[in-house]
Symmetry: C2
Subunit: 250 residues, 2 copies
């Protein structure tokens, strides 16, 4: 039985607590939250604390707080020589206080409060200061996911940047598509099957093969027609730069 404590009460923390609760090989020892009420729907009251000094012995402490707070929280922990990891894609392992054994447990997924996520499919990116701790982290990761990767700090940073492109920027493209529909009295629904299919395609083809559209075909007439059609200066600029980038792809 792996004994786990989660420190934090945000989106990622709550998804982790939920999946740990439902995993046979894992014992949720405690969770820390500044406002314990925020976790009462997930854990009994006696397992939630708002004081680091009440934290009991566990095999792994998972700090899942905002990036800026990780270092401070790690330093505030009143114990040493235990395994302490964070869940951030962009914070280095060394930001954790060296009094404890350090590691990273980074789930590469976008989490929303009101949408269930199938954790079995969530890639978990693991890193540890000491090889023996990696085995513990891997055991925990394998208990909840089928996609476990060993990822060092530079790789993790690159993944975080890549995730901005394939998720945050992609979502912004959806948002601009929605804006265009609204301007022309069309429902966003009309674009949804295309969005689904575009994401489904790259599960099978690599993205370079899957590329279609006027820029891919070097169809300068359509590109110019589209840029002229757009009234918003920001959209014109984005259309121009992304078309140029596609055209420059070898």
């Amino acid at each position: 039985m792996l004994k786990v404590t989660v420190i934090g009460s945000g989106n990622v923390a709550q998804h982790l607590i939920r999946v740990f609760n439902n995993s046979p090989g894992i014992e949720m020892v405690q969770a820390y939250a500044r406002t314990p009420q925020s976790l009462l729907h997930l854990l009994p009251e006696n397992k939630i604390t708002d004081s680091f000094h009440n934290l009991e012995e566990a095999d792994i402490y998972i700090i899942s707080v905002t990036d800026d707070a990780i270092s401070e929280v790690a330093s505030a922990l009143p114990f040493s020589r235990r395994l302490v990891v964070h869940t951030s894609g962009s914070v280095s392992q060394n930001s954790l206080d060296s009094k404890n054994k350090r590691g990273v447990f980074y789930p590469l997924q976008t989490f929303s409060k009101n949408k269930e996520v199938d954790f079995k499919k969530v890639p978990l990116c693991l890193e540890s200061e000491h090889p023996e701790d990696y085995i513990v982290l891997e055991k925990l990761a394998n208990a909840i996911s089928d996609n476990v990767y060993s990822v060092d700090s530079t790789q993790r940073q690159s993944l975080h940047v890549a995730a901005v492109f394939v998720s945050n920027f992609v979502n912004h493209m959806y948002k601009l598509g929605n804006d265009i529909c609204q301007t022309h009295n069309l429902p966003f629904d009309i674009l949804k099957p295309l969005i689904t299919e575009t994401a489904a395609k790259v599960q099978l083809l690599n993205p370079a093969e899957a590329q279609t559209g006027p820029a891919r075909r070097n169809d300068q007439t359509t590109i110019q027609k589209h840029i002229d059609f757009l009234e918003d200066e920001n959209m014109k600029e984005i259309y121009h730069i992304l078309s140029k980038s596609i055209q420059n792809t070898k």
Copy 2:
């Protein structure tokens, strides 16, 4: 029984022929292809012609060729006063020769040669010169799809631009994510669940609500860290412009 003839042998034409073949209320009269062999896997030889003069009577002629060729093909048809439509998102209805009754039958989806598409979910955007022809087009559309929309030429042009954003540009974001993974010896597979979830989210939430990431949080430290991390000038520029666009979103 609706009698349909498809003119063209590309991706869209082939997908249409396949779905018409499988639809009880529709009779595939003929298909035109410059190289008839290209359609032999879909139709018997006697239903494929490479001469416009062999085209028999049908209720609807669907021109599904490259945008540049639509006008020429429409003019070359040796008959008049019949219903002739094209399947393009970006060509106006008036590009068709006025000797026939004109219309548009635009499937808003990305089609690949080797990937089946569930046509029931493909939005079909219809337009016709004469109201009585709209009824015929609608009947044909309803026979193959559950998503049929009346879309005028300006709306259709806006959809085509929106589709570039939510599909072509989105795919390019996947491609850049793939490039980043390759540079750091990571498999693209690690990003796939995130890609799927990001597309799934906007089926339920509107894209503005679904937006996450450093730009959305106005986290200038992480944005700068990411831009510094990227070595490619093109990626730096795209990261900067899209972050700015997200930050300027009200």
